[in-house]
Symmetry: C2
Subunit: 242 residues, 2 copies
DNA sequence: TGAAAGGTGCCATATTTTGGCACTTTTTCG
DNA sequence: CGAAAAAGTGCCAAAATATGGCACCTTTCA
């Protein structure tokens, strides 16, 4: 049997039985006492907390709090989780938020360093405005689902984005933009970016954007937003935006 | 060199070089061409998307979007993340929330089935009230950090919780409670639970609770809250609470 | 005191991983 | 076209690693 499977089986057995001896585990899992002992050491190295009582009547006991999950997440999923937690933290203190941070910190640590930097920069690009008193929480507004793939690619890979835009007068133009931030002023959502053709900072209402397409291969620094850490703060956006 | 480390090195090299041939990878990582090929297969099995161009001038290319992280999270951390995302979803549509859900679904899938049920039940026990129009988001209130450990244990393990309580008249009593829910009516936080001594459903203001302690070894079903899925809905809590 | 429990060190054996080789297919370049 | 360079496959012996057995230690409890 596979090492991994066997160790999983040991964890399951410990969970089920509550407490168990090495000999019993060896029998149930179908391996030798010596191997179970080695597996226990390996599991402890992996972070499982396994108490052991020496002596007659003793045994092993798995601390249920130490159960671990090793879900594999793609980078976009990690981004999404980070945004959730950041948004929640912005909304105020909730219980367990420190734990959530700890979890995210672990996830971050497992990402390559450059991705972490991207992550933080991206997070700084998402600006969520507060709802006005008369608005309900469901008035937060949303983003057309069809726009998402292109936007995700553009933001995560820092590519230009090309789209059709219908301005306030109804005139159709095609734009090519370095996306700098997503600005949510409920219920309206905006893309804030540097318009390559017009050589200027522009904002675009999401609901007027059509056929967005990330321009593959292009990459840019956020050089038009000369803020520290490559991130454009909300206050400055509002200023430019006004 | 360790298999895992070598495969990580291959991923790093692919990321750094953008595109690379097997021979070059083998040289850089310090192993044989054959082994690199086997590792590429393993990495693909693990979910990495590695494009390959056959023929002169070809090579391997790692799809950066397919990068995965395999952070190990403890159960409490997963709980915390879930709460964050659930709270965010309650607040309205945010970008990438589907991705966050997908990420959490993956995490959930990697947990043992009974833990998932606990998770959902627990999530149903957290009731976050909406802020009134005149309140700022920072008025959400919070929970004394010292209370957290005992509460986490109690909720996650479903143990009783014992604490000193100072009621509205200032009288000190010691309580023993089966914790049923955390109710947040900004800026006040409440513990809602079944008081064992008084044999009744009671609510306790968090800021009047002192010296909480999870009573190890005890376990109870949420039998006093006869709602489906062992979960006490917000509306019902408000009713009982009023 | 003896039995039952966890834990360690050692070593021969079993299993898995690795590297080398010969080979195939595909593509590009001269 | 033909040679070169690339991915990919199958096979096998050698190297590395994991396993199981054994002897032995300490602790605990009846």
């Amino acid at each position: 049997m596979n090492v991994r499977l066997r160790q999983d089986a040991i964890v399951r057995t410990l969970r089920r039985n509550g407490t168990s001896t090495i000999n019993r585990l060896a029998q149930e899992v179908g391996t030798s006492r010596r191997t179970v002992l080695r597996d226990i050491i390996a599991l402890r190295d992996q972070g499982y907390v396994i108490h052991s009582d020496v002596g007659r009547g003793g045994g092993l006991q798995l601390d249920p709090q130490s159960m671990q999950t090793t879900a594999k997440l793609s980078v976009p999923e990690v981004f999404a989780l980070l945004i959730s937690v950041a948004a929640m933290r912005a909304a105020g203190n909730l219980p367990f938020s420190e734990l959530a941070d700890a979890g995210l910190a672990k996830i971050e640590k497992s990402l390559p360093a450059d991705k972490v930097k991207d992550l933080r920069a991206f997070l700084g690009c998402l600006h969520i405005g507060q709802l006005s008193p008369s608005q309900n929480l469901s008035d937060m507004g949303t983003m057309d689902r069809d726009l998402l793939p292109a936007f995700e690619t553009a933001f995560l890979d820092r590519t230009f984005i090309r789209f059709d835009y219908r301005d306030a007068t109804g005139k159709q133009t095609q734009r090519e933009v370095e996306p700098q931030a997503i600005l949510i002023l409920p219920p309206l959502w905006y893309l804030v970016g540097w318009d390559l053709k017009r050589e200027g900072f522009r904002h675009f209402r999401m609901d007027r954007i059509g056929q967005p397409e990330a321009v593959a291969g292009t990459r840019f620094r956020r050089r038009h937003v000369p803020f520290e850490d490559d991130v454009c703060p909300y206050s400055e956006l509002q200023k430019r935006f006004a």
